[in-house]
């Protein structure tokens, strides 16, 4: 009896120590590999045109970033995540500093100043991506620190104030509204989970919706007199009417989705990537997936993301401690928000803001940090049952 008990214990311990979420890892690697294939497919035309005939330019760069990201993921999955609690404020501070540096020493790509070059390494990073991981760690730490205080309006306000400041910085320093929205979104989702009650969130959601509707209404009636963003809204309402301006990208994306049909034109056979969807390897990559692989491929990709989110939820539910659970929820929120917003933009459900599709869209910093985040989630998962 005792021997069997010891054996069971031993077996339990072995099991505990080697718990690895294989389905999560499978989904990650599937998405990475699929993303690389799609980047190669979408970018060859553009690369050939703009990169002096190097058709695999984007593929090679993304491949390097993915390898770097896997290393980051492995590192983070072994790095004791509890340490992040101590790192949270320095991370937050670092991203604030980096964001301040962007307008000063930032590198401009395609007319947007969002990158900072790390001297000596020849790498360029997006501080906004660092801010996303920073906000996850920071919010998890804050929520734990404030605890019951969160229930007071003041405490809640403080908990919301820090990410709001970061989001504002992102918006002001990098002119990147979408990253600001994502940062706020992550923070709100984490607070939503951490605090009991639905009322204020439902209220907040409704008021945001009402405000948005009001803005759209005003812009719609102001007509074309508005500024850059208002034209985006108008183009969203009537992409055909703005086919040569802001509506062009959206309209082309819709054409791509519509022309793909159920099973698509076949991998690599997209016509829309031939200059009609500019830089198809970026934000609009999902529309090319629809065109080449059809509804079937698109929904399969969405199911993969859903599976990923579901696995993250399982990890969060079984996390050994609150901090780990909050971290995983942050990661989950980040990925879910970005996927939903990206597909919503591509299908013209919301106005066009530049949001990339995680793991698939081209972008080195993004994929590296997203993989690092998943490393944290895997790390938390490894500690399940300890």
């Amino acid at each position: 009896m005792a021997r069997t008990g010891v054996n069971v214990l031993r077996r339990q311990r072995e099991k505990e120590e080697t718990y690895i979420d294989y389905s999560l890892i499978f989904v990650i690697f599937f998405l990475l590999a699929f993303g690389l294939v799609m980047i190669y497919s979408t970018s060859t035309y553009w690369a050939n045109l703009k990169m002096g005939g190097d058709t695999s330019y984007f593929f090679k760069h993304q491949f390097g970033a993915v390898l770097g990201g896997i290393v980051a993921m492995l590192f983070m999955s072994y790095f004791p995540y509890g340490f992040l609690r101590k790192m949270a404020f320095p991370l937050y501070a670092t991203s604030v500093v980096l964001l301040f540096l962007v307008p000063i020493i930032g590198k401009e790509v395609n007319g947007a100043k969002r990158w900072i070059i790390i001297p000596g390494l020849g790498l360029s990073i997006q501080p906004a991506e660092i801010a996303k991981i920073a906000v996850i760690a920071f919010m998890a730490t804050m929520i734990l620190r404030l605890q019951k205080l969160l229930l007071t309006p003041k405490g809640f306000g403080v908990a919301l104030g820090f990410p709001a400041f970061l989001a504002l910085l992102i918006r002001l320093c990098t002119k990147n509204l979408s990253s600001a929205i994502i940062v706020m979104g992550i923070a709100i989702v984490m607070l939503f989970i951490a605090t009991p009650g639905y009322k204020r969130y439902v209220m907040a959601a409704l008021s945001v919706l009402a405000f948005g509707a009001l803005v759209v209404f005003i812009i719609y009636h102001a007509g074309a007199n508005g500024n850059f963003r208002s034209e985006r809204v108008l183009a969203w309402l009537d992409p055909q009417g703005h086919a040569t301006g802001k509506g062009f990208q959206t309209l082309q994306s819709l054409y791509a989705i519509g022309s793909g049909g159920t099973f698509g034109k076949g991998l690599g056979e997209s016509m829309q990537k031939m200059g009609f969807i500019p830089e198809a390897q970026n934000d609009m990559i999902f529309s090319v997936i629809c065109e080449e692989l059809g509804l079937f491929g698109a929904i399969a990709v969405m199911l993969m993301f859903l599976l990923l989110i579901w696995r993250l939820m399982i990890i969060a539910n079984n996390a050994p401690d609150m901090f780990g659970a909050l971290l995983v929820i942050g990661v989950m929120a980040h990925i879910a928000i970005q996927v939903i917003l990206n597909i919503a933009v591509v299908t013209n459900t919301i106005p066009n803001t530049g949001i990339t599709l995680p793991f698939i869209s081209y972008g080195g910093t993004a994929v590296t940090f997203q993989l690092a985040e998943l490393g944290i989630a895997l790390n938390v998962g490894r500690n399940i049952g300890r």
């Binding site: 009991p196 639905y198 040569t244 989705i257 519509g258 034109k265 969405m302 929820i329 939903i340």
Partner: protein, 770 residues
Amino acid sequence: MKTVKTKNVQKFTIGMKKKLVVLFILVLLAFAGLAAKLISITANNGKEYEKKVLSQQRYDSLTIPYKRGSILDSNETTLAWSEKVYNLILDAKVLKSDEKNVEPTLEALNKYFAGKMKENGIDMAWIQDYLEKHPDKSYYILAKRLSYDEIKDFQAFTASEESEGKIKGVYFEDDYIRRYPENTLACDVVGFASADNQGQAGLELQYNDVLSGIAGREYGYLDDDMKLERTTIPAVDGNSIVSTIDVHLQAIAEKYLKVFNEENKNQVHPGNGANNVGCIISNVNTGEILAMASYPDFDLNNPWDTSRLVGRPEFVEIEEKNSEGKTIVKREQLKDEKGNPIYVSQERVDEFNNSEDPEVVKQKLCNLKSLWRNYCVSDSYEPGSVSKPLTVAIGLESGKITGDEVYNCNGYLEVGGHKIHCHNTGGDGPVSVQRAIQKSCNVGLMCIANQIGIETFSKYQKNLGIGLRTNIDLPGEPKTETLVKRAGGQNGMTPTDLATYSFGQSFNCTMIEMITAFNSLVNGGKYYEPHVVKKILSSSGSTIKNIEPRLLKQTVSDSTSKKIIEYCNSVTEKEGTGWTAQPVGYKIGGKTGTAETADEHGVRNKREYVVSFMGYAPADKPEISIYVVVDRPNSVAQDNARFATFIVHNILTEALPYLGYPMTEEITEKDQKELDEFREKYGITSEQPKVEEKQEEEAAAASQDSEEKKEDTEENKEPAWKSFDVDPATGYYINPNTGNFVDPDTGYEMGASAFEDEGSDNAAKEATKN
């Protein structure tokens, strides 16, 4: 154990777990909503968007032009060719893709093409404006049809270091432009092509299919899997044609037509020397046309130049309903109220050029069309006395006359109740057949025709191709069938018609018909289809097809031919009507023609004449023939064949030495003086052919030559009877004219034994009795 371990650690609460599930459900709903949206886009707009995607693609993006084939003369001198030219294209999309390239590119365009672009009303400000307004347009033609010389500096600059690779969004598109290096030369024969490579007249039209190539294409298409593929099919260049026209001979002919015009213009009325002057020179033994010219001519490089209309009679198009109720457009000469023709003046041309009035534009087009007509092929007229040798040949060939007859000319003959006058109203007295030709005696000819009879005359006339198309390889040959009455039928030939037909009046024919018929009379009776193209070359210059002379039929026998030559040679003797056609140093034969004209209603005004001369050289053994027609010379007395004979004299005086014929006649000092004056006047610098020293030698050579030729012709005769039907019983050929058997080996005709001994005329006479 677990609880123990995690006691001091904050755990995920049940409330949080619930909220997490709520969150997941929200995410799930969002995903489901987006999936629904995707499905709805595909289901509702799938087909429409698919079309949009396909319509955005450029399938037919580029047509690669072909090079139209050249037209060459018999020595392969170029008469028409297509020069490669370049269109300057602006690709605003490419240029605007990098703003820093805009300025250097525009500067370069301004430097190299400012003048050319100005022609299209394009300057730098315009381009700037265009770039602003159409930054996504990829194709705009800034300048058309630049030559290589005009673009090479720009291309060198673009390729050089100096431009720093900043010249973008400008490229050249190939095109071809039709060029006629000889301008007006042989304009009627060569014709011209429109800007889109469609032949409009002459050889350009007749051989349009040969000259045209196949345009290449660079295009995209959708394969079986709806996959867009791009393919380039290169253009296939057109074939070239080698004409029988000899540019030098053509130039000689045109030169003296112009001389004629200069000497005779503005004589009676302001205008050209004649309404039309046409000249054909052909090879009697092959049917090849060596020169075909008419005046007024036009510039092939600028066929719409209305200044060439000045001095021509003005034409109007009249729409008429024919008996079947169809509307037919007739072109008629414009006349004033007194019935005098109106000639195009400079003022009228100015009106043509400046007026927008559709009536005037129509008028202008009508007159230009008449200018572009090939008089030698398209216009019919009453040939006049030139057809007298035909009548005599019919008489001889049918055996109705022997050639020894003598007729008495009182100046007229009464036929069918009409007094038909001779050219010489005083009467020529007794005339032999030869003299009837020499003096062009109408009465003599009417007597001959009377002997021949309507049936025979009509049959032989048709056999000579009068009233039939020659099928020359030039467009616009009219149907002359209705212009010549045939024997029999209600509207058949009457005795009066027969009488007038004998000297070439009251029926119409074209120049090409007449010269083709005449050629067969002087070459031993072989009727060749006339042609102006002898070879077709591929675009790389290799021969694809040789067009051989086409012998269609035997019109008269060799002996008849010899007699006709004998008679026609007398025309150019001192007392003959064609004496003035004789070039210095040569003996030629021929026949003059002075024909009355009838207007549209058949009324003859006895003031307007078509004068002509049909000649051949050398006189003893014709090799080339020449036919000159002067349509209503600008003169008080139009009925003078000298208008035509002088032209023939001039042309042959220069042309025969050019063609390498040795002089056969003694040249007196007077002749030499005349020749020297002639050569000086018309700037002939080539060496005058030697007569004295070489004469005997040449003559000997010529006679030897002619003997050889004789043998040749006898050999050539074989196919004539070998082409007869074979009698199945005997294996002998049957002569279709006589019904006699012909020995297949020797060609000896049975039942025609008297043929050689008693003279061919008797034999032929008997033959036609059958």
